[in-house]
């Protein structure tokens, strides 16, 4: 299908090209919806409505069903997200070792609540229930880096590492 994102411009949108490759890769694969959504989100950073429509047409799955799947799983996002994703572990081990305090500190520091993104799109803050690094509790993840054995006063310096 043709690209609808930039009708004026004839050079193909690189994201659309990548998305096309994903469709090609999963053509005819049973149960491809979730991997396609995962890869589409890797390309766009979230799942824009247009992309969901495209996926629906391409995989011949009604948009309502696609939307149903997207909203079922915690991993999928319908809104743009920050450049850096902070995941604060509130699993059991972190809970008993003061994870909530860390979470509070970050919320105050950034001025956003759970699941929100800062206005400058620098950070998205999320709470999650256990990343399995219980030996280092309390733990947060910023992007793919894990920071463990935290205390509230270490938070600021960690956030400063991410632009």
């Amino acid at each position: 299908m043709s690209c609808q994102c930039a009708p004026e411009n004839r050079t193909p949108d690189p994201k659309q090209v990548k998305l096309g490759e994903v469709f090609a890769k999963y053509k005819g694969v049973k149960g491809a919806l979730i991997p396609v959504l995962q890869e589409a989100q890797d390309i766009y950073g979230y799942l824009p409505a247009d992309v969901l429509r495209q996926i629906s047409l391409e995989l011949k799955i009604p948009l309502s069903k696609v939307y149903g799947v997207v909203t079922f799983y915690a991993q999928f996002h319908l809104e743009p997200r920050g450049r850096n994703i902070i995941k604060v572990c509130l699993g059991t081990a972190c809970h008993v070792r003061g994870g909530a305090k860390i979470f509070e500190t970050i919320q105050k520091e950034l001025g956003v609540a759970d699941g929100e993104t800062t206005e400058d799109l620098r950070f998205t803050l999320e709470s999650i229930a256990c990343i399995g690094a219980c030996g280092l509790a309390p733990v947060i993840m910023v992007n793919d880096d894990t920071h463990g054995r935290l205390t509230p006063d270490k938070v600021k310096a960690i956030l400063a590492q991410y632009e």
Binding site: Y73, A133, A137
Partner: protein, 630 residues
């Protein structure tokens, strides 16, 4: 092949990676080169040793010296002193929590010494990204034996004889599950490895996949041969990126070596494995939800029967086993069922991996024979409770399980004994709590988790968990009534008996078990508006020590509710009714004059028995709920 004088294994599990083991590994590699030891020392990336809180860890062979909390700056000293001059770097050794003496060798550390590592045998011992190291540890020998010397029936017979039961929670006999899948009609059949480990506090599956991925792949092949399947899927959480990448490497190496794919070991048997990533839904650990998720649908469970063994993925017979269950299989086939059955207890065979976490010295992964006592795990392997605190409870089985108390310290850890006292084995998470942990808060925490993760398909779970959480929250905020306790118990029964899948059926367990063993804590919250452990925020009392207060006025100005009163040069005080318990004053006071504690009980410490038994509502509504401070 060069003759290495030393092999150094540097842990690259998620725990150690988080504490910076990549830097240590890089620095070690370059230091070994720059100090001219490249021909004599081999640096190996290894899987998880299980001692995550001491990370980054490394072990130097042949001596078996175990270094803990190694930072890149420590590496030059290790190389020049230990590797060159044979002098062990003492300050990096593990110190025994009791004696405070450094322990030099890996095997002498109680944490390791008291373990029986079968499933974790290769974790920390081999490079998980190199199939040859796995093969050198007799890897893929069991698969060869199965497909060339045994019939599928014989394979299943050995698994049945071993007495192995599912390690994911339910404890269903694995051999019988295989038999059902083999006997089921329909083609093709599928083998699924359930690696959607979601219990907060459990990370054994992740460590196995990171440290010994081939063991799981080999087991899936064996299962495929036994039930007549040619396609396997590993359903793994996307939150485990290291495990996913090790699995990908392992699958491609196994394909290259002809250990996955067509004509395995020259026979007609063929088998291949693909990875499916979970998308963040705890309920997908339930097998029917997991199957729907692989099919690209919302991961909602469906009633069983039909069981997946009969009607599973795409409606075909499907065998689903958990990671740890599978990791036992190659050894069972390599030895035999009787060998495995000789380990453990009458009805729980083999070993179990537990993830120790919470208020305990040695957090990490341990593997012990089934039937080991809780006391042994906590005090000998776990090194006891830090800071001289008292053991209060161990929560086993995560949000589906219950707690074990001091009276259970000598209980044998096995499926049936845990069920008998209202807990469960679950996947093996074990959270230790000390006197500073509030059991009502713990129950509330687990309910919050199950409420969030309830998929919403069935009403008892969707609404029941929400209502239970509301009641628990009320209690922790000091607004609970005696009726709440009765409602909570009734609701728990309804949710347990009527939910569609294991998530809902087991969701009330933490509540029921804390009510059973710590009812007096609930009652203290309700009747006395008092949190004995001093955890529940709304029930805490803030006090200013008049001796320490310098009357600077900082807290008074910062207090958002104006609860702090005082004049210049007069020690300040907090008016309890106005205090919102936000803690700002505590964090601002430069003289550490403000303290937070459980306050004092109201009306009287110690509860009369009739309050515990009956619902005398008039007396459980003390009209001034917040006056804790005097």
């Amino acid at each position: 092949m060069p003759q290495y004088r030393h092999h150094i294994l540097v842990c690259q599990g998620t725990g150690c990676l988080s504490s910076g083991s990549t830097g240590v590994l890089n620095s070690l590699t370059s230091e070994v080169r720059s100090q001219g030891l490249k021909q004599q020392v081999r640096v190996v990336k290894s899987g998880c040793f299980g001692f995550c809180m001491q990370g980054p860890v490394m072990i130097v062979y042949p001596e078996g010296v175990f270094y803990t909390q190694v930072q890149p700056d420590d590496v030059p000293e290790i190389v020049s002193s230990h590797l060159k001059q044979g002098k062990v770097v003492e300050r990096l050794l593990f110190k025994d929590p009791e004696t405070h003496k450094p322990v030099q060798e890996f095997d002498d550390i109680l944490f390791f010494k008291r373990q029986k590592r079968l499933v974790l045998k290769n974790c920390g011992a081999i490079n998980p990204e190199n199939i040859e190291e796995y093969i050198a540890q007799d890897g893929y020998f069991a698969l060869a034996k199965a497909v060339t010397e045994m019939t599928p029936e014989q394979v299943i017979e050995e698994v049945k004889k071993s007495g192995l039961r599912g390690r994911g929670g339910g404890g269903f006999p694995t051999g019988r599950k295989w038999e059902f899948a083999k006997g089921a009609e329909g083609e093709p059949k599928y083998v699924i490895c359930n690696a959607d480990e979601g219990d907060p506090g459990a990370f054994m599956d992740r460590s196995i996949l990171e440290g010994d991925p081939h063991a799981v792949l080999e087991a899936m092949c064996i299962a495929g041969y036994a039930i007549g399947s040619h396609q396997g899927y590993v359903y793994v959480r996307a939150e485990y990126p290291v495990a996913v990448s090790r699995l990908e490497i392992a699958i491609s190496q196994a394909r290259e070596k002809g250990l996955l794919g067509e004509r395995l070991f020259g026979t007609d048997f063929f088998f291949d494995i693909d990875i499916r990533l979970g998308a963040g839904a705890f309920v997908c650990g339930e097998e029917t939800s997991l199957i729907r998720s692989i099919q690209g649908l919302r991961g909602e469970p469906r009633p069983r029967p039909p069981f997946p063994a009969k009607e599973g993925l795409w409606g075909r017979p499907t065998l689903i086993n958990n990671v740890e269950t599978l990791a036992n299989i190659p050894q069972i086939i390599r030895h035999d069922g009787d060998w495995f059955a000789s380990i453990g207890t009458e009805r729980s065979k083999g070993t179990k991996v537990f993830a120790l976490a919470g208020k305990i010295h040695n957090t990490g992964l341990i593997e012990v024979p089934m039937g080991t006592s809780l006391r042994e795990v906590i005090y000998n392997l776990g090194g006891g409770i830090p800071k001289g605190k008292k053991f209060k409870a161990a929560q086993t089985g995560g949000p589906s399980g219950g707690c074990l108390t001091e009276e259970h310290l000598d209980i044998a850890l096995e499926y049936d004994s845990l069920l008998a006292v209202g807990s469960m084995m679950g996947s093996g998470g074990m959270i230790i709590m000390d006197e500073d942990s509030c059991m009502v808060d713990v129950a509330r925490f687990y309910l919050e988790f199950t409420r969030d993760e309830s998929c919403g398909k069935c009403t008892p779970c969707r609404i029941g968990t929400k209502r239970m959480l509301e009641i628990l929250t009320r209690i922790t905020e000091g607004k609970g009534t005696e009726k709440d306790l009765n409602d909570l118990e009734n609701l728990a029964q309804v949710v347990r008996e009527n939910s569609l899948c294991g998530l809902g059926v087991s969701a009330p367990n933490p509540v029921l078990s804390t009510l059973r063993y710590f009812r007096q804590e609930y009652e203290a919250h309700i009747h006395d508006k008092y949190c004995p452990a001093g955890v529940c925020q709304k029930l805490l009392a803030y006090e200013i020590d008049p001796e320490r207060c310098k009357a600077c006025g900082l807290c008074r100005r910062e207090c958002p509710t104006g609860a702090i009163k005082g004049a210049p040069k007069q020690p300040h005080h907090i008016e309890a009714e106005a205090c919102a318990k936000c803690g700002v004053c505590l964090s601002k006071c430069p003289f550490k004059a403000i303290s937070r504690g459980p306050g004092s009980r109201r009306p009287e410490p110690g509860l009369p028995a009739e309050v515990a038994a009956g619902g005398d509502e008039a007396r459980v509504h003390p009209d001034s709920g917040s006056s804790l401070v005097h």
